[in-house]
Every structure is written in structure tokens, then in C-alpha cells.
Symmetry: C2
Subunit: 127 residues, 2 copies
């Protein structure tokens, strides 16, 4: 366990595709939360956003296919985080997105929700 994982990346990360990724609300909210929180497992995101598990997994898979996020397995959990080797424009845009949307619904409500999800998950799971 604790293995870093690369991705297949079928689709290149150009600006238009980057914005198409952010053009679906579940992915957008997840991207903002990952920028805020650094690393989250699928179950924490699923609970914080109130979406079904297949839906969450599918959208995280899209983010990974385009190279926006990478994954790390730790036991039965898979942790997602933004890649730190993104192009400068993508890194800067993400920072702006997270800042400019932080106080807008539904993003403003996602932050406390993910904090509760993290607290509960990590206390129940001895990490």
C-alpha cells in the first residue's frame, strides 16, 4: 500500500478542455475542495457533495484522465489530489477559481461539509 499512481491520460490538457472539466458542477465542486483541502478520498468527497458513489467516481476519473488530479492508494481508500506538475496557466487558473468561488453557493457550503466528512471518516478509521 501507499503506492503513487500515474494515469493513462487519454485526453490532453488544453485550456478549452480544462474549462469543460470545470463545466460540470460535481467536478467543479470537487476541484475546489481538492484545492482547499489538499487531499481527499472518494468517500469524503461523496459525502460532502451528496452524490452517488458511481457518479463521484466517474467524475474523478475524468479529472484524472485529463491529468488534473492524481491518486494514491492507502489500504482500501483512494486519495485524490491536484497534480503539482500542472502547466502554470492551469495552476494559476485553479487558484483563482477556488478563491473567486469560495464564498458563492454551493461552494461556501461545501467547505464545512467536507470538514465534517473528513473529521468523521478519519476518526472512525483510526488515521
Amino acid at each position: 500500500m501507499m503506492q503513487a499512481a500515474a494515469s493513462a491520460a487519454h485526453a490532453r490538457l488544453d485550456p478549452a478542455r480544462f474549462f469543460r472539466l470545470l463545466g460540470e458542477e460535481t467536478r467543479l465542486r470537487a476541484a475546489v475542495l481538492l484545492h482547499q483541502q489538499g487531499e481527499l478520498c472518494v468517500c469524503e468527497l461523496t459525502e460532502a457533495l451528496g452524490v452517488s458513489q458511481p457518479k463521484m467516481s466517474r467524475h474523478l476519473g475524468h479529472l484524472r484522465d485529463v491529468g488534473l488530479v492524481e491518486t494514491r492508494r492507502s489500504g482500501q481508500w483512494i486519495h485524490y489530489r491536484l497534480r503539482n506538475d500542472l502547466p502554470a496557466w492551469a495552476h494559476d487558473l485553479l487558484t483563482g477559481v477556488a478563491r473567486d468561488l469560495a464564498d458563492e453557493p454551493p461552494f461556501s457550503g461545501d467547505t464545512p461539509r467536507v470538514r465534517r466528512a473528513i473529521a468523521r471518516h478519519r476518526s472512525e478509521c483510526e488515521q
Copy 2:
């Protein structure tokens, strides 16, 4: 002539829709140019981006339907510009987008192209 025009706005401007708008390259390049140049007519954008007239018009129509841009008719030309009453998050995001993409292709090449298109159009048309 010189009449301000409002739009029907069938679709509300939420963050996900905003990013979906920017998720198509022609619209993204047009939005960046409008942010840079302030106001452009359809023929200037069409020439600068090298796309067909119906395609340019259709994509500008999408930007207008969602309320990102507004139009002003002046004779036979229709000038598009970003609305100045956008939500703060949309205004701030657009500023960041224009800044972070300015030096990336194809946006970096669009700037001189639109300048030439503006110069030619406005000299040929006595404005």
C-alpha cells in the same frame, strides 16, 4: 442606429455554465479578446479567429444568451462587449482567465491578429 440591446437570456449564469461557455475554443478565444479589446464587431472576431461567419455568430449568441456579453448595433455592424454588470465572481474569473492565458497559444497569436483586423476594418469603414 446606436441602440443598446438587451438579451433574452434563456439560461442562467451559474459557475458551471460559465465554465461550459469557456469550454469551447472559439468562445474562449473570443471572450479573451473581448476582455482585452473592450468591444469588437463580429467581422473583426471572425477574421481574427479564422472561423466561418455562422460559427462565430452562433458562439457569440451563446455568450449573449447566458448574459456574458451584450451587443450594440451601429449601422450594419454589431459590436459585442463583456457586460459590466456581471457577478463579481464572473468578472474576477474572466480577468484571471485573460491574464493566465495571454501568453499561451493560440491566445498569444490572437492578439496581433485582432489588432490587424481592427485596423483594417476601421480604416476601410471610415470609423
